[in-house]
């Protein structure tokens, strides 16, 4: 069994396996990654760092491409 740890998504704890990308974690949490310029909820599309749909704020840094970022214990993710 892979090691697992907890991250925070919009203030709620989420248990993830080591090696999970933040985008994958967000999909499992059910939270959209961002809202578009006209207010649509959006989730990951390309999964490979090109489409920019999975951007979210991670540990205070905005606009992170979450599909290119692995979860770390205690990481704080804020969407929207």
């Amino acid at each position: 069994m892979k090691e697992s740890f907890s991250i925070t998504v919009n203030g709620k704890p989420l248990l993830v396996a080591a090696g999970t990308s933040v985008a994958a974690a967000l999909m499992m949490s059910g939270e959209p990654c961002r809202f578009s310029v006209s207010g649509e909820a959006r989730g990951p599309l390309c999964g490979m760092g090109i489409c920019m749909e999975c951007r979210a704020t991670v540990d205070g840094i905005p606009q992170q491409r979450t599909c290119q970022l692995a979860c770390a214990a205690g990481m704080n993710v804020v969407t929207g």
């Binding site: 990308s21 909820a41 990951p44 390309c46 999964g47 490979m48 090109i50 489409c51 920019m52």
Partner: protein
């Protein structure tokens, strides 16, 4: 920081790994750089040397990774090439850090991405690329028990279906837009390619329980706040399939941003190269999907050719020319078999968003005559992805060519771009 190498390779998928390995084995000082956290590219994403054997093409990954490991090639992960501030110099960025890297020879192996086409509902969360969904599952997304529909075009759909089924998803259907007779020709041409035939057969066997249907395509996705069902058609009737995820990809398009920035000549959507993979820019070679979408085998052969050529070992490069030509023909057959049908251009409704970064609707674009006009009048392609998604879509929808590339070719921290170019 400033570094210099005989050979710099951009992109550490199969083509880049083969090129860097061969050039380093030939005694050149080589740097292989990639913007992902680990090498392998898309097809070998998430593979580790110890466990790779379990996965498709894993044995070949192990061989190339081990060969690369034995060389003195420097591998820089997480770096993206964003600019060419002077000839023979690339500017790289990683998390706000900047690095300039000088090269004698440059081999570009930036691979391909999926073509996404707009249809009503395609912006709903849960609608992803087909390869995109595979990449997400490889990076930890739990697929167990999820109902998945795959739709679009290309051999990738079957590979993704097999991968998702293995990961525990319930693959409700795989819908290939190409008609059966077109694919039948392709299957016959595969008889001349035993390795590839077996590869295809393995995927097919694994996905027998899923419905692989040809001549069918997606009409729209529906759901409240996320995809809940998808409407499909075979051109005569329509039906609905419930799902949690819809993976949609319409073949692959090459990542031409860097070759364009470097000034490489593009012909028919790919970098024009000679038999040693040299582009129109002296000292710059382009390999793999950049020179024609043909998959793993083609990338490996072309990477080796470019690697040998960069090291001045032309006899070794030319010895692979027969294989190169055979794989080039295979790429052409692939292209014909999975050619996109005209109906796909009519999927978007007036209110369907085409540019997802700037939320530009189809209605606003259909009056424009060019990519340039669309950008100026509607902001289509001006957002964060810089037209990487809508560019390939509008190319098919309206026949627009997106020919320009300006630095930075990927979003980069301003600090990485702000400093002056150091004197050579």
């Amino acid at each position: 920081m400033r570094a210099g190498f005989d050979v710099v390779v951009v992109g550490a998928g199969p083509g880049g790994m083969a090129a860097a390995t061969v050039a380093a084995e030939a005694g050149r000082r080589v740097c292989l750089l990639d913007d992902n956290a680990a090498h392998g590219g898309q097809i070998w994403r998430g593979y580790r040397a110890e466990t790779a054997k379990k996965y498709p093409h894993g044995a070949r990954f192990q061989r190339w990774a081990a060969r690369l490991e034995r060389t003195r090639c420097e591998v820089w992960q997480g770096w993206q090439a964003v600019d060419q501030p002077a000839p023979g110099l690339l500017r790289l960025e990683r998390e706000g850090e900047r690095r300039d890297i000088a090269f004698e020879k440059l081999i570009v192996a930036t691979g391909a991405r999926e073509r996404f086409l707009p249809f009503p509902g395609w912006t709903l969360p849960g609608v992803t690329g087909a390869g995109g969904l595979q990449a997400l599952v490889k990076s930890g997304l739990d697929a167990r028990g999820k109902r998945v529909v795959l739709a679009g075009s290309g051999p990738l759909l079957l590979a993704v279906g097999a991968g998702l089924a293995t990961a525990g998803a319930r693959v409700e259907g795989i819908y290939e837009q190409a008609p059966f007779r077109q694919l039948a020709d392709f299957a016959l041409s595969l008889m001349a390619q035993p390795a590839r035939l077996l590869e295809g057969a393995r995927y097919r066997l694994k996905t027998l329980r899923a419905a692989y249907r040809t001549g069918c395509w997606v009409v729209r996705a529906e759901g409240r706040g996320r995809v809940e069902r998808v409407v499909l058609t075979d051109g005569r009737k329509q039906w609905t399939v419930e799902c949690e995820w819809l993976g949609c990809g319409f073949n692959l398009v090459p990542n031409l941003e860097l070759p364009r920035l470097l000034g490489c000549r593009i012909a028919d959507g790919f970098v024009a190269v000679d038999r040693r993979m040299q582009s129109s820019v002296p000292g710059v070679a382009c390999v793999g999907e950049l020179a024609g979408v043909g998959g793993l085998e083609k990338a490996l052969v072309e990477g080796q050719i470019a690697g040998w050529a960069a090291a001045g070992r032309f006899a070794e490069a030319d010895a692979l020319d027969g294989q190169r030509r055979r794989l080039e023909r295979f790429a052409h057959r692939l292209d014909r078999a999975f050619a996109l049908r005209a109906e796909l251009r009519a999927l978007a409704a007036d209110e369907t968003i085409v540019c997802r970064c700037e939320d530009v609707h189809y209605a606003a674009l259909k009056g424009c005559v060019s990519w340039r006009e669309a950008k100026l009048h509607t902001r289509c392609g001006m957002g964060a992805c810089q037209g990487r998604v809508c560019g390939a879509a509008t190319e098919l929808l309206f026949g627009w060519e997106n020919a320009s590339a300006r630095p930075p070719v990927l979003p980069a921290a301003v600090v990485a771009l702000a400093s002056e170019v150091e004197r050579r």
